[in-house]
C-alpha cells in the first residue's frame, strides 16, 4: 500500500507576513535595538574598524537615531546590504532604516514606495583613473573599460553620459566596492566610476593614492540620504528630524563639547527648543524631551561627524563643498525647530 504523507505542509501556514505594519517607533522601542541598513563596507561611510565596531558617516546617523529613540547610541544592529539587496531588506522590514549612500530619486521615492527623510550628503558621480593613462577629462574616455557598481543610479548615469557625448565604453558590472577596487588596481578596467565621495574613500585605502586622479567632470546629481518605508510617517519624522537636529546643532554652534552646558538652558529659544528645555517637540515625536541632545551626544553635530569620518583631516579628505551650511555657501538648510 502506498502512503504519501506530506509533513510540514501545514507549518507553512505558521509563517506570518514579514512586512511590519505601522508603528516602527514602538517596534524599535520594544526590541530595544535599531536595525540599520548600511553598505557592506565603504571606508569613512560605513565599515567595521579594527575592533569590529562599525564606524563612519552613515553609521553615525544610525547611532544618532538609536540615541534619540532608545537613549543608547550602541543599541544598533548594523545590517550590511549591497546595492541589490538594500531595497528588499527595507521593504520587507528586515531593517528599520537605510543609511547607505542611497540616491534620492523620483522612482525610488514614488514607485518603490520609500520615504527619503532628507539629504545627509550632496554628491555627484565622478571618475577615477590612474595618472599613467594621461587622461584629463571624462570626454577622452572613448573605448575605455569602466568598472561600475551594479544596481546603482551610477549605472544609468554612465550609459546616459557616454551616449550623449557619443563615445563608447565597455561596462564591467561589479557587486561590491571591494571587488571593484581589486579589478581597478589589477588594470582589468581603465576607469572606476561611482559617487565622488565613494571614489575618494576608495582611493584613500590604496597603497599609492597619488597615482590616481579624480577627473573634473561630475556627471550627475546624487543627493544621498537616509530612507524609511512609505506609510509610517511617525517613524519617518523621527529619522528626518534627527538628521535635521544634527544639522541645526552645527548651525547654532551646539557641539558635543558644550552640549551639557547648553542643556542647562540658554537665552537662545531655538537652542532651548532643540535641546528640550523649552517647548514639547520631543513629546510631539513620541520621544523624550532631550531626544535631540542624546542624538547630538552620540557622535557630535553634523560638522563634527563629517570632520571625524570623511573630512579633510581624515585619509579620505573630502572638502565640505556643497555640504557646508547655507550660511557658509553650502546647501545644508534645516527647517527651523519650532
Amino acid at each position: 500500500m502506498k502512503k504519501s504523507v506530506i509533513l510540514g505542509a501545514a507549518t507553512i501556514a505558521g509563517l506570518a507576513a514579514g512586512a511590519a505594519a505601522a508603528g516602527t517607533v514602538d517596534d524599535v522601542k520594544a526590541r530595544g535595538k535599531l536595525n540599520c541598513g548600511v553598505t557592506t563596507g565603504l571606508v569613512g561611510f560605513a565599515a567595521p574598524d579594527a575592533n569590529g565596531e562599525w564606524q563612519g558617516f552613515d553609521v553615525s546617523l544610525c547611532r544618532a537615531v538609536a540615541a534619540a529613540v532608545l537613549g543608547d547610541a550602541n543599541a544598533v544592529e548594523f545590517v550590511p546590504t549591497t546595492g541589490k539587496t538594500r531595497f528588499t531588506a527595507l521593504a520587507s522590514g528586515e531593517i528599520d532604516m537605510l543609511a547607505r549612500n542611497t540616491t534620492w530619486t523620483f522612482s525610488r521615492d514614488v514607485d518603490l514606495k520609500f520615504e527619503f527623510t532628507g539629504v545627509n550628503y550632496y554628491d555627484g558621480q565622478g571618475f577615477m583613473v590612474p595618472k599613467a593613462l594621461g587622461v584629463s577629462s571624462a570626454k577622452e574616455l572613448d573605448g575605455a573599460t569602466v568598472c561600475i557598481q551594479t544596481g546603482t543610479t551610477t549605472e544609468l548615469n554612465l550609459a546616459d553620459f557616454f551616449r550623449s557625448n557619443n563615445i563608447s565604453y565597455e561596462p564591467v558590472p561589479i557587486e561590491t566596492n571591494a571587488e571593484a577596487q581589486q579589478q581597478y588596481l589589477a588594470g582589468a578596467c581603465d576607469v572606476y566610476t561611482t559617487d565622488a565621495s565613494g571614489l575618494a574613500a576608495t582611493r584613500a585605502t590604496f597603497e599609492a593614492p597619488d597615482e590616481h586622479v579624480l577627473l573634473p567632470e561630475i556627471i550627475s546629481k546624487e543627493p544621498l540620504g537616509p530612507l524609511v518605508r512609505h506609510g509610517d510617517h511617525e517613524w519617518g519624522d523621527v529619522v528626518r528630524w534627527t538628521l535635521n537636529a544634527l544639522i541645526t546643532a552645527e548651525e547654532l554652534g551646539v557641539t558635543s563639547a558644550n552640549i551639557d552646558e547648553l542643556s542647562a538652558g540658554t537665552d537662545n529659544p531655538e537652542i532651548n527648543r532643540l535641546l528640550g528645555t523649552e517647548g514639547t517637540l520631543g513629546e510631539m515625536l513620541g520621544l523624550d524631551a532631550d531626544w535631540a541632545a542624546k542624538a547630538i551626544k552620540a557622535g557630535g553635530n553634523y560638522g563634527e561627524v563629517f570632520a571625524k569620518n570623511i573630512g579633510e583631516e581624515t585619509p579620505i579628505g573630502l572638502a565640505r563643498g556643497l555640504n557646508a551650511q547655507w550660511t557658509e555657501g553650502g546647501l545644508l538648510y534645516s527647517p527651523p525647530f519650532r
Binding site: I12, A13, T150, L156, E170
Partner: protein, 410 residues
C-alpha cells in the same frame, strides 16, 4: 445444482475511509492535496494582500520600457535605449552560451580524468584523485572568483602592449592575452555568396554538415566491406579530403580574410573578444563539474565486468581500442543518467556569473533590471520560469540520447 451468487456487497460507510485499506491511502492523499492547495492559496493570498497594503501591484509592463544600462557581452543588437525585455534576451543568450561551452569542456575534462583515475600508473591515478577531490569539495563560487582573480592579476593589461618598450607582445602577432579577455582574429568574407554575414556562415555550416554525412557514409561502407571480406580499407585520407576539400573551396570562393585585433586607444579593437568574465566562468564551471563527471565516468567503467576487458585483450585488441570499442560504449548506460544532472548543475551554477561581472540572465533580468525597476517578484518569477524551461529541455534532450544508447531489450 447450485447457482453461483456474488457475495453480498457491503454498504459503504464513512468509517471505511480510515479503516479499510482499499480507501485509506486514497483518503490520506486527498487530505494531503487539500493541505498543499490551501497552503499555496494562503501564501499567494498573503503576498497579494501585503502588496496591496504597500500600494504595489504585479505588472509586466516594465519589460517594454527602455532599460537605460549597457551590457558588456551582446550576442544580439542591444544598447542602453533597448527595452528591459531585450536586455533579458541578451542575458538568456549569454547564459546559454556559457552553459553550452561549459557542458562540452566539462565532459571532456571529466572523461579524461575519469579514465586516467583508473590508470595502472600510480602517479597518474593519484594525480587525478587529487584533482577530483580538491575541485569537488570546494564551492564553485570560490573557484570562479579564484580563477578570475588569477586571470586579472597574472595576465597583462592592454597598456602593457603599447609603445616601443612594451612588456608584452601578441602571440603570432594575432592573439592578445590580456586581463580583460583574449582577442582572437575574426574571419571575414571579402566576397560572400550572400549579402548578409549570417547567411554566409549558414553556408559554411551546411557544407560542414554535408562533410559529416559523407564521412559517416565512408565509415559505413568500410564496415560493410569489412564484414564481407574481413579487410578494413584505409579511410583516414579519404575522410580528411571529404572534410577539407569542400571547406577550402568554399573559403576560396568567399575570399576569406582575417580581421586581426590591434591596440587602439584604451583597448584592442577588431577581431573577436572573448571576455575575461566569460573565460573565468567557463573554465571554473568546466573544471568543477568535470570533477563530478570524472566520478560518474569512473563508476560507469567500474560497472563493466573485468571479464570484458580481459576477453577483448585475449582477442588481441590494444588498450586504447578496448576502452573505446568495448568498455566505454557499455559504460555509457551507467554514465549518462547522472551526466544529465551534471549538465543541469552547470546551467544552474552559471547564475553565479555576476560574481565576475558576466552578464547572464541573473545579472541582467534578475540583477540590474530588478534593481532599477523594483519589480522583484515579477523578475524572479521570470527567472524561475527560464531556468525551469532550460533545465527541462536539457533533460529531455539528454533523455532522448540516453534512450538511444540504452540496452535494447526485445
Amino acid at each position: 445444482m447450485s447457482t453461483m451468487t456474488d457475495p453480498p456487497k457491503a454498504d459503504f460507510r464513512l468509517s471505511m475511509l480510515i479503516n479499510d485499506t482499499r480507501y485509506r491511502s486514497l483518503t490520506f492523499q486527498v487530505i494531503a492535496a487539500i493541505v498543499i492547495a490551501l497552503s499555496i492559496w494562503y501564501l499567494g493570498n498573503n503576498l497579494i494582500q501585503n502588496l496591496r497594503a504597500a500600494g504595489l501591484n504585479i505588472s509586466y509592463s516594465f519589460l517594454g520600457d527602455p532599460s537605460g544600462y549597457d551590457i558588456n557581452q551582446r550576442l544580439v543588437e542591444y544598447d542602453s535605449q533597448s527595452s528591459h525585455g531585450r536586455a533579458a534576451v541578451v542575458g538568456i543568450l549569454n547564459t546559454l552560451l556559457v552553459a553550452f561551452l561549459a557542458c562540452i569542456t566539462a565532459t571532456v575534462f571529466g572523461v579524461i580524468a575519469g579514465v586516467l583515475r583508473l590508470s595502472n600508473n600510480w602517479l597518474v591515478s593519484k594525480l587525478m584523485a587529487v584533482y577530483v577531490e580538491i575541485f569537488r569539495n570546494i564551492p564553485v563560487l570560490i573557484w570562479i572568483i579564484i580563477i578570475f582573480t588569477i586571470m586579472t592579476a597574472v595576465l597583462p593589461g592592454p597598456r602593457a602592449f603599447r609603445g616601443d618598450n612594451a612588456t608584452s607582445s601578441m602571440l603570432f602577432d594575432a592573439f592578445a592575452f590580456t586581463n580583460r579577455g583574449v582577442y582572437i582574429p575574426r574571419p571575414v568574407f571579402a566576397n560572400g555568396l550572400f549579402g548578409a554575414t549570417i547567411l554566409n556562415w549558414l553556408m559554411v555550416i551546411v557544407v560542414l554538415i554535408g562533410s559529416w554525412f559523407a564521412s559517416r557514409e565512408i565509415e559505413k561502407r568500410a564496415t560493410l566491406k569489412q564484414e564481407a571480406t574481413g579487410e578494413r580499407p584505409k579511410t583516414f585520407l579519404v575522410k580528411l579530403a571529404v572534410w577539407l576539400v569542400p571547406f577550402a573551396l568554399l573559403m576560396l570562393i568567399m575570399g576569406l580574410t582575417w580581421d586581426i585585433p590591434a591596440l587602439k586607444g584604451f583597448n584592442f579593437s577588431g577581431g573577436i573578444k572573448v571576455g575575461g568574465p566569460l573565460i573565468a566562468l567557463w573554465f571554473a564551471l568546466s573544471i568543477y563539474t568535470g570533477a563530478f563527471i570524472a566520478e560518474n565516468v569512473r563508476a560507469g567503467i567500474q560497472a563493466i565486468s573485468k571479464g570484458q576487458t580481459e576477453a577483448a585483450a585475449a582477442l588481441g585488441l590494444r588498450p586504447g581500442r578496448i576502452m573505446n570499442l568495448v568498455v566505454l560504449p557499455q559504460a555509457l548506460r551507467v554514465i549518462i543518467p547522472p551526466l544529465i544532472s551534471q549538465y543541469l548543475n552547470i546551467t544552474k551554477n552559471s547564475s553565479l556569473a555576476i560574481a565576475v561581472g558576466y552578464a547572464d540572465i541573473t545579472a541582467t533580468l534578475g540583477g540590474i533590471t530588478l534593481n532599477q525597476t523594483g519589480r522583484a517578484i515579477e523578475c524572479v518569477l521570470l527567472l524561475m520560469l527560464f531556468y525551469l524551461t532550460a533545465s527541462l529541455l536539457i533533460s529531455m534532450g539528454m533523455n532522448i540520447y540516453n534512450a538511444s544508447v540504452k540496452l535494447k531489450e526485445r
